[in-house]
Symmetry: C2
Subunit: 221 residues, 2 copies
Amino acid sequence: MTNETTNGRTTGSVVAEISTSLDGFVAGPNDGPENALGDGGERLHEWVYELSSWRAQHGLEGGTTNETDERLAESVENTGAVVMGRRMFSNEDGPWGDEPFEGHWGDEPPFGVPVFVLTHHPREPLELGGTTFTFVTEGVDDALERAREAAGEKDISIAGGASTIRQCLRTGLLDELRIHLVPVLLGDGIRLFDRSGDRIELERTRVSESDGVTHLEFRPA
Amino acid sequence: MTNETTNGRTTGSVVAEISTSLDGFVAGPNDGPENALGDGGERLHEWVYELSSWRAQHGLEGGTTNETDERLAESVENTGAVVMGRRMFSNEDGPWGDEPFEGHWGDEPPFGVPVFVLTHHPREPLELGGTTFTFVTEGVDDALERAREAAGEKDISIAGGASTIRQCLRTGLLDELRIHLVPVLLGDGIRLFDRSGDRIELERTRVSESDGVTHLEFRPA
């Protein structure tokens, strides 16, 4: 699906990007409707809140401009569609009622591109402030196919959670894995990687550092 | 215990250094007497076998000379004593018999400095080709105290395994944690970090890359 451009960048990639603690957690323990990131999980995202491009994406002004910020801006710019697991959208589980929860993302979700939500329960598409959430019940392959149509030559971003990323990695659907490694041990929570029993070789393609976080990029070998 | 030298290096540190997979394993599954690194665990150490300083330490000639190699040579040079868990020494468990196993390390162990082995069972010191293994039954604090006496102003290396490193980290005894991150998912095995429930903040002090491995250094904050 990917194409090499003249400057060597690969377009049309399926990219997963996630912040983890040094002990491998992407959320703290006791996550739930009122505690989406789990206890202490907010710590994993502190580095991003001050970046100018993150702030712009969330309707805020100001912020830091540095290499990480440029990289994030580039990543947002290159994204043509998003795929996410049901829990990334909502803690409410289906079957969806008559007035289902409109998700974690508020009235103005920060995506601005079509979002495909994996769920076992059919639901009509939901439009919120310029973002359309489409609910896909036929599995991750189907979601990626629909995201590819929506994204054209742009990248598809796998927004998480951990199990959706693992599934894409295991089935060979992922082109790039970007881990933002935060120097904290959370001690408990939701792990990015479980004991799948599958050995997967990767190639490290890029390492960079910014204040309080190390950015590691990999490509399945 | 540490002292700042004129060039800014801290001497007399307690340093743990370990190779892990991207999914956080330091050994593969099914480890045992004939399979010390577990299934596939050898993969985590491939990067080091070609380094000139590792080869010299193990009585071999040749090898690659690069920044990682220099760093390893420096680390060996700065080490005045080693502390290791019992399983790093031997898969045999005590009480030690009349002719106990002489450990994983062969007739010429690569240490050349006093090694303190944590065990629950007393045993006379064992000298093998210039390395003396002393068996410590009073716990990790006592082992570190004895290692400090032996090391003088040099560093103490915590050679592992994972549980010994975790114990030093949790009790605040560790000054530096160096992780050699290998871009593979092992899928199962022995994890460096468990669900301790303890949140520990670290500071990332250094990142460097070499062929097939990323070196990440941290200091407990």
